[in-house]
């Protein structure tokens, strides 16, 4: 069953939570909502769940208009960022609760709870209360409840954000496997671009209540529709600058320019915004399309396997991310190499013109 938002918007008082958006979600993989804290991911999920009614527009699910259908009748599950479980129920009862509400036979409930608790390695703690579990186990319980219900729509609202970093890695690996072949639509909200990439599937980038792009995750990452989408989908932040196209070259400054190539030739001469991801700006020469730029080093962060250097380029902070250890003195001038083949050019409305 497909979930579709048709011209949906949400306003509370004078505040716009979601600007008019349309979106058709996919069933063959995670649908990821990527954006910062106030981008509107949670608000959008509340609309999809039926916890809130859209101010305008319709929500269609499985070919039916469900806009006015109450949440209880929608067969959805939801997992929140905070570990939400019923404190007065045991882990077993927590997982079983949606099934009990649906009045399933006891044997069926036992079977399903047994199955998902085995999958999520919760079997030994079925008799405990949620408060006696670690954070990871509490979140597993919440996930198990969503899985056991076997609903048509699963909403995961930053489910891993409050977990320790290693646990997050582990669960992130498991999640797509858990929901595979269940025939349900999964929507997953996150604020971390890397998480979106690793989960694969489809991604919608969100910014201040607007969906800026939707498509296959890798496509959205590599071919952002506009500058905003590129910025949302970049960690560390994407480098941007203004360039002028003239005489078949892009000119960044007097000393720095590079030749136009491929589909960029169709662009008219003039000013464009250029964006390039930090890992295409390196302290060492690139194999192809190498252009050297000079910047003043602000900070160097060495993480063992890679170096992240923040440097000042004509008043803007740029970031270089590279493999290996490259130490720089703070305040010193240093040269970096840009792989201009990876540059993305945006026009006046910030839409992607050429890459």
């Amino acid at each position: 069953m497909t979930l579709e938002l048709r011209h949906v918007s949400k306003r509370v008082g004078a505040e716009m939570y979601i600007y008019e958006s349309s979106l058709e979600f996919r069933e063959d993989g995670f649908n990821i909502l990527l954006g910062t804290t106030l981008a509107g991911k949670t608000s959008l999920m509340q609309l999809m769940a039926g916890l809130e009614r859209p101010t305008s527009g319709e929500i269609w699910f499985g070919g039916k208009n469900v806009t006015g259908v109450s949440v209880q009748k929608r067969n959805v599950s939801m997992v929140h960022q905070q570990f939400i479980n019923y404190p007065n129920f045991s882990v077993f009862e927590n997982i079983a609760s949606p099934l009990r509400v649906a009045r399933l036979a006891r044997a069926e409930i036992d079977r399903r709870v047994g199955e998902v608790s085995e999958m999520l390695r919760l079997t030994p703690m079925l008799d405990r209360r949620p408060s006696e579990l670690s954070g990871g186990q509490q979140q597993r319980t919440a996930l198990a409840r969503a899985l056991a219900k076997d609903s048509d729509l699963v909403l995961l609202d930053e489910p891993l954000a409050n977990l320790d970093y290693k646990l997050r890695e582990e669960l992130r690996d498991e999640l797509p496997r858990l929901f595979r072949d269940r025939g349900c639509t999964v929507v997953y909200a996150t604020s971390e671009p890397t998480e979106a990439l690793l989960l694969g599937g489809y991604t919608a980038t969100m910014h201040e209540g607007r969906i800026t792009q939707f498509g296959e995750t890798a496509t959205v990452y590599r071919q952002p529709a506009d500058l905003l989408s590129a910025q949302v989908f970049s960690d560390p932040p994407i480098n941007t600058a203004t360039v002028t196209k003239q005489n078949g070259r892009f000119v960044l400054s007097e000393a720095v320019s590079w030749p136009v190539s491929g589909n960029q030739e169709a662009l008219r001469d003039g000013r464009y915004a250029v964006a390039i991801r930090p890992h295409h700006v390196t302290p060492f020469a690139q194999e192809k399309n190498d252009v050297r730029i000079e910047g003043r080093v602000l900070v160097t962060e060495l993480s063992g396997s890679e170096s992240v250097v923040h440097f000042d380029l004509g008043g803007q902070t740029w970031i270089s991310q590279s493999h290996g250890i490259h130490a720089f003195e703070v305040g010193a001038s240093a040269s970096f190499h840009v792989d201009t083949g990876q540059c993305m050019y945006f026009g006046d409305d910030n839409e992607l013109l050429a890459a």
Partner: protein, 266 residues
């Protein structure tokens, strides 16, 4: 200096206990001893005062009457306050702020002001001298209090718990009773304690609204004091007994009391 901080609460508690001790002391004395000689502890120790209270129906009925309307009021106040507190903590609706303030103003109405109108009102609806009359009248100041305390506790429960339950398919009332109420059990305990306490200690309205059938113990005492002359020992014994139910209740909620105040909004 840190070493002597325990002195302050100890001295304070000592000060609190002195009058109570004197009451207790007197309750074990005979009237002769009380009026005759000044003694720091009972010389002629007697249980007669207590025996009288437990055998004389006018006395022990007073206790039962008081307990009846207090329990009734506690149940009514907490039950009515639960959904209201939920609404205040979860929803925004027309006039919510003003309503909250209006509720609180009723704690500010001096009972002395309203004693007579109360008598007329409850006589008019034929409830004079019944438990329910006192129980309902005490709602005036206990419901706002209960709403206030419960709202504080409820605001401490994440809204996502409600959402999770609705998503799981729980209809509102089933969620409210099966999940939400157990979650804020501590808050209900604290609210019930305060309702019990204020209903138990209030006398003016309770006395105004009753004559015989529902007469509270505190009123029985005043009558005794005036009609039977000064049977001080008996009075002291009755007074001592009024402390017990409250002490009992506070023991059960002692761990939550501090919390109950800290939450809550104004």
């Amino acid at each position: 200096m840190r070493r002597f901080t325990w002195l302050v609460p100890t001295l304070y508690i000592l000060f609190l206990m002195l009058p109570i001790y004197w009451l207790l002391n007197m309750s074990f004395k005979t009237t002769n001893e009380i009026l005759g000689v000044f003694t720091l502890w009972p010389r002629e120790f007697t249980l007669d005062n207590y025996r009288k209270i437990f055998t004389d129906p006018t006395w022990y009925n007073g206790y039962l009457n008081s307990l009846s309307y207090v329990v009734m009021n506690t149940v009514i106040s907490v039950t009515a306050a639960l959904p209201a507190a939920y609404a205040f903590s979860r929803y925004r609706f027309l006039g919510d702020k003003h309503l909250f303030f209006w509720l609180l103003t009723n704690r500010m109405a001096p009972p002395a002001v309203f004693a007579l109108p109360f008598f007329q009102l409850y006589s008019a609806v034929n409830l004079f001298d019944t438990y329910i009359a006192v129980a309902l009248a005490h709602c005036l100041f206990n419901i706002p209090l209960a709403v206030w305390i419960l709202e504080g506790f409820m605001s401490g429960v994440p809204k996502e718990l409600d959402e999770t339950a609705y998503v799981d398919g729980y209809p509102f009332w089933r969620f409210f009773v099966k999940i939400f109420i157990p979650t804020i059990a501590a808050g209900i305990g604290v609210a019930a304690f305060f309702c019990f306490m204020f209903s138990w200690v209030e006398l003016l309205l309770a006395k105004t609204l009753t004559s015989v059938a529902a007469k509270p113990i505190a009123a029985t005492m005043t009558r005794t004091a005036s009609t039977a002359g000064y049977e001080l020992g008996l009075l002291a014994a009755a007074g001592t007994l009024t402390i017990i139910p409250g002490a009992f209740v506070i023991y059960f909620v002692r761990n939550y009391i501090a919390k109950g105040f800290a939450l809550g909004r104004v």
